[in-house]
């Protein structure tokens, strides 16, 4: 067609002009790794379940949570929440109270009677789980969901392991513990109590088991030789804790000394206070910085009036009086004796010096290696004995309920592969968690952390009532919505709005957004204005 003078274009819409040809970088939607997910020892998809909770859809949130962890109500009470330590929101105001929302979801599930997912059809494989603590129960749960037939053999009279015998009731009420364990067992898991295994190979052969998972924990208390007088009263922390949890109320005297610096020591000291001790004094041979106890536990203990004597060892226990030796740290940070002594009044001493793994069951197994008192496992959590896996406190790790639950999930995946004859593939790691710097925090509303109600310290030590309260519906919703959804789109429409070229398409609520690369000039505004860093710019290759 002949065009008029100085006219080169046709009469048309600018849609004919594909400005995407200008682009040297293209925006791409990504699903980043939120730091909370990365830090969770139980492998929870924290951001994903908070996403559902943000909408007030607590059941979906809970269902996403129990994919990885069958015990949200327990976890929301006893977990030391490493997720919150790394939460990017801390750089803005304060970390999201992930743990408190988890507890809310767990309690809501118990109130509403939500049930765990149905197991897959039977596979015909049988797995023996030894020990009904967090690791054993978590493994049983995950394997049961995959359709395997599961039998748990527990030496004690009740399921729960350290959750029942090691954690005081003022941190974890037993009705909560019982509800979550009972709900898990209704999936069709056989639990044999008071069944101590002495010869694993025989038990497996006779029971027709195809694989076994050992999670017997570490329950033998460390001993320390302390010269003691006739009248000295020396107790073991685990016995005190287990007894108190069962309702025993022993007379420990006016002043109770706890020897050790771990979480068990903190729990023992707090328990002693509740048993009527006027003074509970922790004696620890190093400094606060080196203390293995979680700082939350230490803080709660100090709030309740527990005292700590740092850099001291107990050298002698007399009648109502102890001799302590002062320590100093050498260049390597190890405590060294100074030869200086002091006396401390004390009516009883509770030893909380750590625990060892009981080895009886291991001695019958060929190939199992024990180093530094713990069982060695490979990347698939299998011991040196084929088909026998192990996890929880008996393998090298940080000893906590959350870690045990994470071991259970990891072991279950690998046991399932082993049962199906699929070689275990090493975990694809290496994804770097989303950093605060890749967010655009301007868009997030100002919102300080919702604080959970706590009993005041004076009332706490009066009895064994739960110390930390839960969130109500409104505060749980508020807290969930403080999540910045690091690295994962949460549907704010910013990319759709800020594109000067209308090159972002809104697919629908469920499928999010897409780029129209015919018109995207690659300016990067969408990536810069994405609050959560879910868009990255990639160089064009051609």
């Amino acid at each position: 067609m002949k065009k008029p003078f100085a006219i080169t274009l046709d009469v048309r819409s600018s849609l004919a002009n594909h400005t995407g040809a200008w682009r040297s970088e293209r925006p791409v939607y990504v699903d980043g790794l939120p730091p909370c997910n990365h830090a969770c020892p139980a492998g929870e998809q924290v951001q994903a379940w908070l996403y559902a909770a943000e909408e007030g859809d607590y059941e979906t949130a809970w269902r996403r949570l129990v994919n990885d962890n069958p015990f949200p109500a327990i976890m929301g009470r006893v977990c030391y929440h490493p997720c919150q330590t790394v939460c990017n929101r801390a750089e803005l105001d304060s970390a999201v109270g992930i743990n408190s929302v988890e507890r809310f979801l767990g309690d809501e599930a118990i109130r509403q009677g939500w049930q765990l997912p149905d197991p897959a059809p039977p596979t015909g494989k049988r797995v023996l789980i030894v020990g009904a603590g967090p690791a054993g129960l978590s493994t049983a749960y995950q394997l049961r969901l995959l359709g395997h037939d599961i039998e748990i053999h527990e030496a004690g009279g009740q399921a729960g392991g350290m959750m029942r015998f090691g954690i005081p009731t003022f941190r974890l009420p037993r009705d909560v513990l019982d509800s979550e364990i009972d709900r898990l067992l209704t999936l069709g898991i056989t639990l044999k109590l008071n069944t101590r295994i002495t010869d694993l190979a025989t038990t497996m052969r006779e029971g027709g088991f195809d694989a076994a998972f050992l999670a017997i924990g570490a329950q033998l208390s460390h001993r320390a030789y302390i010269p003691a007088g006739q009248a000295a009263r020396i107790l073991d922390a685990l016995n005190v804790l287990a007894g108190a949890a069962e309702g025993e109320r022993p007379q420990l005297g006016r002043t109770v000394i706890v020897y050790g610096g771990g979480n068990t020591a903190m729990d023992a000291a707090r328990t002693a206070k509740r048993l009527g001790a006027q003074d509970a004094i922790v004696v620890y041979r190093r400094t606060q910085a080196q203390m293995p106890a979680n700082e939350i536990e230490l803080r709660e203990a100090l709030d309740e009036g527990v005292e700590v004597k740092w850099l001291r060892t107990i050298t002698q226990v007399g009648d109502g009086v102890l001799t302590l030796e002062k320590m100093r740290l050498d260049e390597d940070g190890r405590p060294q004796p100074t030869g200086e002594f002091e006396e401390l009044a004390g009516d009883s001493v509770i030893l909380a010096l750590g625990q060892d793994v009981e080895r009886t069951i291991l001695e019958t197994l060929p190939g199992v290696r024990i180093v530094d008192g713990v069982v060695q496992v490979d990347a698939s959590m299998m011991t040196g004995c084929p088909g026998v896996f192990a996890g929880g406190d008996m393998v090298p790790s940080t000893r906590s309920v959350t870690v045990g639950i994470g071991h259970g999930k990891a072991a279950a995946v690998n046991i399932d592969r082993w049962l199906r004859g699929v070689p275990s593939t090493p975990a694809v790691g290496g994804q770097v968690p989303v950093a605060f710097g890749s967010l655009n925090p301007w868009y997030y509303s100002d919102a300080p952390h919702a604080v959970r109600p706590r009993l005041d310290a004076g009332r706490r030590v009066a009895d064994f009532s739960e110390v930390v309260g839960g969130l109500d519906v409104d505060t749980a919703l508020y807290e969930a919505r403080r999540c910045m959804s690091c690295g994962n789109c949460f549907g704010c429409d910013n990319c759709f709005g800020v594109c000067p070229d209308n090159a972002v398409l809104k697919v629908d609520e469920a499928h999010g957004y897409a780029f129209n690369y015919d018109y995207c000039k690659g300016c990067g505004l969408c990536a810069a204005e994405c609050p959560c860093g879910a868009i990255i710019m990639q160089p064009e290759t051609s």
Binding site: T19, Y443, G491, N494, D501, N502, K521
Partner: protein, 338 residues
Amino acid sequence: MTRQTVKFYQVGSRAVGNRLLPADLRTEQSNPDRRNALNSGHRACQGCGEALAARYVLDTAIRVTKGKLVAVNATGCLEVFSTPYPESSWQVPWLHSLFANAASVATGVAAALKVTGQDDIRVLAQGGDGGTVDIGFACLSGMFERNDDILYVCYDNEAYMNTGVQRSGATPPAARTATTEAVGPAPGNPFGTGKDMARIAMAHEIPYVATASIAELHDLESKVERAMSLRGARYLHVLVPCPLGWGSTPADTVRLARLAQRCGLFPLFEAEHGEVTNVLPMRDPVPVEDYLKPQKRYAHLFGDHPQPGVIAALQALADRNISRYGLLPSPAGGEVTR
């Protein structure tokens, strides 16, 4: 303007939309069926603030007028990049005549609609800062004083950009342009020059004057909506960062608009009949350096020969705005939306 406090929604009213917000509290730009008055394929530079602002303003005006809107455009970037004749990006009835006469043409369109009994069709005139504060100034002042029923929108990128970044009456002090080079004892645009068009418009005591920013979308849309609810002469002045003329990264366009407001150099307010009726307080104020540093047009204030005195003078301008309009954050710090 009606504003209400909303309950806590993760990104509340700051983001474009938000899946948690009820649809009526989201912006028009979050609406998948928005008009896209300025269609894809336009020839604006990467990260153009003006292209963004024009779509923001017109989409909202089209929504509130239910599509009964005519746009008149002055010559300038917006006209050049959207309409290389006879191709057009506009999805709205659109008219261009000359650089100087957009306000007068709009007056004519409004008069024609009135005498033909179609004054349900509304008229919006738009131009850049050159076509508004310099070349079209007389026509615009006339439109104001006659109180013609038009919303005039100025997209202010603070210089003549498509002709090669020459200084305009809206270029801020100290900024480098092609005609105010960063040389000599007082480099860049001289202090004491230029004009504040929003305040000039207010001096006409017209029904409505407001400033807006592409970084505050809820605020911008509410101002367009308010303007379209009124009759008579109305004026909206929108700050639109220009990567080319400001020497900034295209991805920083919205960020710079935000920093301009957070430092106080570009106050956001509304005025009716010559009186300020509303201001948007600064949230998390910043010093002017934060705004100036990412822009190469101010590079001569930093680097090897920093000019702390000039920066202090610019900070004084920001401080004057802060006290004049009362921009300091309110202690309550509530979340506000339309």
